[in-house]
């Protein structure tokens, strides 16, 4: 994984932003950020859905790992129970056939057996529910977060505001408006004639149709980030599967979730609560940067002048960035 500075001008933004770079402002921003040397290559493969995928991703946070283990345990319990129950049934089906001359018994109860198959499931379920309770407690424990980001769902885009970082309020970083990337947006129109397969992240080759945004949320690696999640119009759902951070975004209510991601990369998710016609078109992309790179990025965002310098570009307009939300 190449984490070193890269001044070649490659965009680190997802595909959609590349397209936007045709606009002047965005080209500068993209170029400048790239100049900060935060190119992240080949990070998406493990983290995002792949063709024929059959299982939950393991994810990249301690919680997502615990959940994955719990999920696998539950899955295996089900497989074993299935084999036992269906096995017994198919043995009965093959052995006790009338056509093979089987004569029916007449017994209709067996207290010991009935007791056993009530008690054993209870024990198995307690065995699953106990670790589940512990994990739930951890998921609910967002204390000691070093960073807080407010996430607001709109029809049909996400808004991110940095609230605090490292014990200090963050006030000067402009809001991030994160909406579906333009390439995807063009391709998804009815009869667009554009193949969804043609929408590709140029950096990674990942087919990011409907999973790319104009501007991702950026967070530091190795830092416990607390997400305050709400919505402005209808209910949405903010979810990054690899973080196992997920909470309904409800108008008038502030929910929270947290994640501590150690591995830098680009992580993708989708809105999971039906929110109207473009519910399928408000993905979530989170870019996790190594902490020092994140700090540099944040400093640049807070102070565009410094960004200029770093990028050795003459003039950069402050990032108002992103489209306005289409409220409606």
């Amino acid at each position: 994984m190449n984490m070193g500075p890269d001044v070649s001008g490659n965009s680190i933004l997802p595909k959609g932003a590349m397209t936007m770079s045709s606009s002047n402002c965005m080209r500068r921003v993209t170029g400048a950020i790239a100049a900060l040397g935060t190119l992240l290559v080949s990070m998406t493969a493990a983290a995002n859905p792949v063709p024929w995928q059959m299982n939950l991703p393991k994810g990249v946070t301690p919680i997502s790992h615990e959940i994955w283990d719990l999920h696998m345990a539950a899955l295996w319990v089900c497989v074993v129970l299935g084999i036992v129950v269906f096995g017994a049934m198919f043995i009965a089906i093959f052995r006790f056939r009338k056509s093979k001359g089987a004569v029916a018994a007449t017994w209709t109860h067996n207290t010991k057996m009935e007791f056993a198959w009530t008690l054993v499931p209870v024990l198995i379920l307690i065995g699953l529910a106990t670790p589940a309770t512990i994990i739930t407690r951890n998921m609910y424990n967002a204390t000691d977060a070093e960073m807080t980001v407010k996430v607001t769902g709109y029809q049909w885009l996400w808004r991110y505001d940095y609230i605090s970082y490292d014990g200090k309020p963050v006030t000067k970083v402009p809001t991030i408006w994160s909406r579906l990337g333009w390439d995807s947006n063009r391709a998804r129109q009815l009869d667009s004639g554009i193949s969804p397969w043609s929408v590709v992240d140029k950096q990674t080759g990942y087919h990011d149709y409907l999973l790319d945004v104009t501007e991702p949320l950026v967070i530091p690696a190795g830092v416990k980030v607390r997400f305050l999640i709400t919505a402005d119009d209808v209910i949405h759902g903010w979810w990054v599967p690899d973080f196992a951070a997920k909470r309904d975004a409800l108008p008038g209510i502030m929910n929270d979730a947290w994640a501590k991601v150690d591995q830098p990369g680009i992580y993708r998710g989708q809105c999971y609560v039906l929110c109207g016609q473009d519910h399928s078109a408000m993905p979530i992309v989170v870019k996790v940067l190594p902490r020092d790179q994140f700090n540099a990025w944040l400093a640049a965002r807070e102070n565009p002048a410094a960004l200029d310098k770093a990028a050795r570009t003459a003039e950069v307009t402050p990032q108002k960035s992103g489209p306005e939300p289409a409220k409606g």
Binding site: A104, T108, L250, S280
Partner: protein
Amino acid sequence: MSSTAQAVHYEEHHQSWFERWFMSTNHKDIGTLYLSFSFLMLFVGGSMAMLIRAELFEPGMQLMQPYFFNELTSMHGLVMIFGVIMPSFVGLANWMIPMQVGAPDMALPRLNNLSFWILPFAFILLLSTFFMPGGAPAAGWTMYPPLVLQGGEAIAFMIFAIHLMGISSILGSINIIATILNMRAPGVDLLKMPMFCWSWLITSFLVIAVMPVLAGAVTMMLFDRFFGTNFFNAAAGGDSVMYQHVFWFFGHPEVYIMILPAFGIISEIVPTFARKPLFGYKAMVYAIACIAFLSFIVWAHHMFTVGMPLGGEVFFMFSTMLIAVPTGVKIFNWVTTMWKGSLSFEVPMLWAIGFIVLFSIGGFSGVMMALVPADFQYYGTYFIVAHFHYVLVGGALFSIIGAVYYWLPKWSGNMYSSFWGKLHFWSSVISVNVLFFPQQFLGFAGMPRRIPDYNVAFADWNMVSSIGGFWFGATQLVFVGVVIHCVFFSKQKATSRVWEHAYGLEWTLPSPAPHHSFTVPPVIDDSQLAHGDVTH
């Protein structure tokens, strides 16, 4: 009873076609109406499903605008739940309960007529919304505000349709309770009743308890939308999460309303073809009662990610796990009924075995979803879609089809083609898995439900699923053929017992069953009852 007796007399002698099918107070005719209506709705809702799967066949939008897709998924859910599963169970209850308890008819025949005839009007209201400005409701069958309030005027029609369906099913349930409690022939003790009667007795109480809750929820919605109240409007101090609590307090019992009668049916079919009495009859009754009770205290497992307090999450996780225990007991008892039986595999038995396998798979995913942290990764994905289709298609619908194959000879007096019945079964059981099994993978991979378009990584399994969908849909046309052939054209007459080892009062009547099942209470001989031996 005296009004019943008069009705009996009247119908038997001067009935025109119109009177028979529109003014009927006869439990069999009304049962037939219910079943025909839900059969029709199966194809209405099924056509929507075909359109949905066609759009999802490939990534990209090919056939429709996203909003119309949302209309389709919402209406598909409402039609299948309220128009297919619930009315067909009521239809089966109408046909079978009087025959199984030794009664001439339902206790309240005129009410019976009313409760059926409300339904066509409810569905005309509901389906007409497709043609209204702004289109049909498009916020999912769960109708969450605030989204649902963005719908056009059509949501008023949806709300009144729901009120009507609720009234219809409450009236139907009152009738079933009255029939079972008052009309049993002397000697048919409660604990000698067939499991189908038991399951419906308990289901009826669930219906009466929760349909008014749904009515309350949608009425608040109506007021929010049209009369300026703010029950669910956060900007004015309302709370949209309250809607979810109220809805699921109805919604979870509702899903059991759609499966308990199925339990009853399977408990009838399996002993018949195992030639062995039902294992643990009393345990089966208690398990159903237990499930019905527990179904009132698990609702928030549909809302684990909504931001409940930790204590709430843990409570609802444990209560949900608990409900899996009596459910498991039922499955073990069916399997044990087969154990050391003398099995044969006529068409109804195939559907019952299919039910046991598919319903169990749905139950397994239910247990996984009951684990709060795991459900955080499943909620809102196709894994949920797979779960409820396994229990509702593989479970409820399979049991209904099995029941039709089991009792159709009794109803019509003719045998159907068992070749085509078996073909129907095998084609259905394979295609239903091609259709829904891959949806579990899609859910794990993170594909959200209720989306018309998706990332290309999800393309392959979606295509498989769609192929299974078209296959399953086409297969159901076989069913139409089998039923029409059996009722109108079959030359093969059914005996009164129909199946070698079928016990219960319905099998003591000739096939087709006479217009009024038992005009005089039958003399009960315990050996003629499926569960005459009360010691088990």
